[in-house]
Structures are given as structure tokens and as C-alpha cells.
Subunit: 152 residues, 2 copies
């Protein structure tokens, strides 16, 4: 196989670029979250719980965060051990448990969100406001295909 | 904290969007790679080895793929066990080892690259050719800040 063609394939591969750009953001986010005892994944889960006052199901968490159910369970366990979220029975389905942010979880969200947004803004500093809007729009449309979208 | 503000924060967060869009691509890529006994990460590493006829250092692999050195070692071990790559001493630095694709590795690359590109094209089908170019350009510029870029 022609080496030049191959080299082209990797840097031109949107999946590879997404994975690299995502890694850059995760590292920057983890760097600012470390002093709060958080990392990017539990932070995203906490943020979802904070934005749903009535609680959010583990199924919705798995879907939105593109995680396996078992990963969600262990992240919820981790946040529950720090008393940032708690599991409560759903009022509409007693067998289902909802994840609800505690008072401490909400306080941490309020403190950490601006810090994480500041870190993201620093990563995006080379892009104009219009380019940032375009990037958000294109990523949102890619996401809309969802993990279940046919690969062929 | 205002729930509406918080809900906004998550879907507007470029880091979150990147991580979700990346997950969508990784799943689609893994789906087509499964029948070749590969997953997205070892595939990217194999592709880098295939595109560097003289071999590539584990340090360069870690840097380009945004992986820890220990993750690179275990991926190279995995590909070497399948005889797709091998470690050879560098000609310029005898202490350094280079990762080189074997004949079988190159043959697999030639077969798999078009399949992965087809899967990526399907994921990108909702974006026009111009939008795909813009997305690649914006992601490349984000990546250029690199994992070491200051988060503040």
C-alpha cells in the first residue's frame, strides 16, 4: 500500500480527528476538575443530574453519555459515595431508580461549571465565535445519527 | 442553580459534543472492524505503522494517538501477538525500538482502510461535502493546540 495514501487516510479520517480533539478537551477538563476530586465522565453525569430536578434514569444517563449501563452504575456509585447524588425510587415506576443530585452535588455543580466552561473557552480560543457556532452545529448533527445509526 | 441554565450547559459544551460524536464514530468503526478482529484504537496504531515504512517510535504513537505510553505498549503487544506489527531496533538510536508493520499488517491495512472509510462516510452522510471539509479543518485546528495546551 502506498505510504503517502495511508498517511493521508489517518489525518483525513474524521473519526480519528474527533477522537484526538475529544482527548484534548478531556485532558483540559480533567486538569481543572482534579482539584474538585472529579474527572470528565462523573462531571458530565453530575451535570445531567443537576439539570433534572426530578432526577434522571440510569437508562437516560447511559444513552446521553454514550456509556454502557455498567459504566453508568459504577459512576453513580462513585458520585453517591461522595454524597453528590442519590438514587430515589421513581414516582411513576416503583421498580425504576432515578439519580438525583444532592444539595452538595448542586453546590459543586454551581462552582465547577464556570471553571470547566473557562477551560473549554481556552481550548476554543483559536476559533472565531462563528466558527465555534458552526462546530457545535456540525457536531450536534453528527450526534443526532446516534450510536445505533447503521455504519453502512 | 437554574436547571434550564444547567441543561443548556451540557448540550452546548463542545467537549461533551466532541466526546459524544467521537463515541458515535468509534462504535460505527468497531462494528465494521469486528470481523477483522480489530477495534478502533489498534486499527489507528496499525494505520500509523503502515504509513511509516521505516517504522514509528512508541513515543510518536503515544503523541499522535493521545494515549499513555503504557496503553501504546499494550496495543503494540496485542498487534505483535497477531503478527501485524513487529518491534525493530532504530538505526539511529540502538536503545529505541521502532514499530514496523509486517507484510500481513500491510495487507490487512489495504483491505480494512476502504471499509472503515465507508463506515465514516455513512456517518457523515447528513453533512454536505463543504460541511465535512469545514468540520475537518476546525477539528484539525483544535487538535493543533495539543494535549499540553494550557487549560486556563
Amino acid at each position: 500500500m502506498d505510504p503517502a495514501t495511508n498517511a493521508h487516510a489517518l489525518t483525513d479520517d474524521v473519526g480519528f480527528l474527533l477522537s484526538r480533539a475529544s482527548a484534548v478537551f478531556v485532558r483540559a477538563t480533567n486538569a481543572v476538575l482534579a482539584s474538585y476530586g472529579l474527572r470528565a465522565r462523573p462531571y458530565s453525569l453530575l451535570l445531567m443530574a443537576c439539570s433534572a430536578p426530578a432526577g434522571v434514569s440510569q437508562r437516560d444517563l447511559a444513552e446521553t453519555l454514550a456509556l454502557d449501563p455498567s459504566q453508568v452504575v459504577s459512576l453513580v456509585d462513585e458520585l453517591a459515595a461522595s454524597a453528590l447524588v442519590e438514587r430515589r425510587p421513581s414516582e411513576t415506576d416503583r421498580r425504576a431508580k432515578l439519580v438525583v443530585a444532592t444539595e452538595a452535588g448542586r453546590a459543586l455543580c454551581a462552582e465547577v461549571v464556570p471553571v470547566v466552561e473557562g477551560a473549554a473557552a481556552a481550548q476554543l480560543a483559536d476559533l472565531s465565535a462563528t466558527e465555534q457556532l458552526i462546530l457545535r452545529e456540525l457536531l450536534t448533527r453528527l450526534m443526532a445519527r446516534g450510536p445505533g445509526a447503521s455504519p453502512q
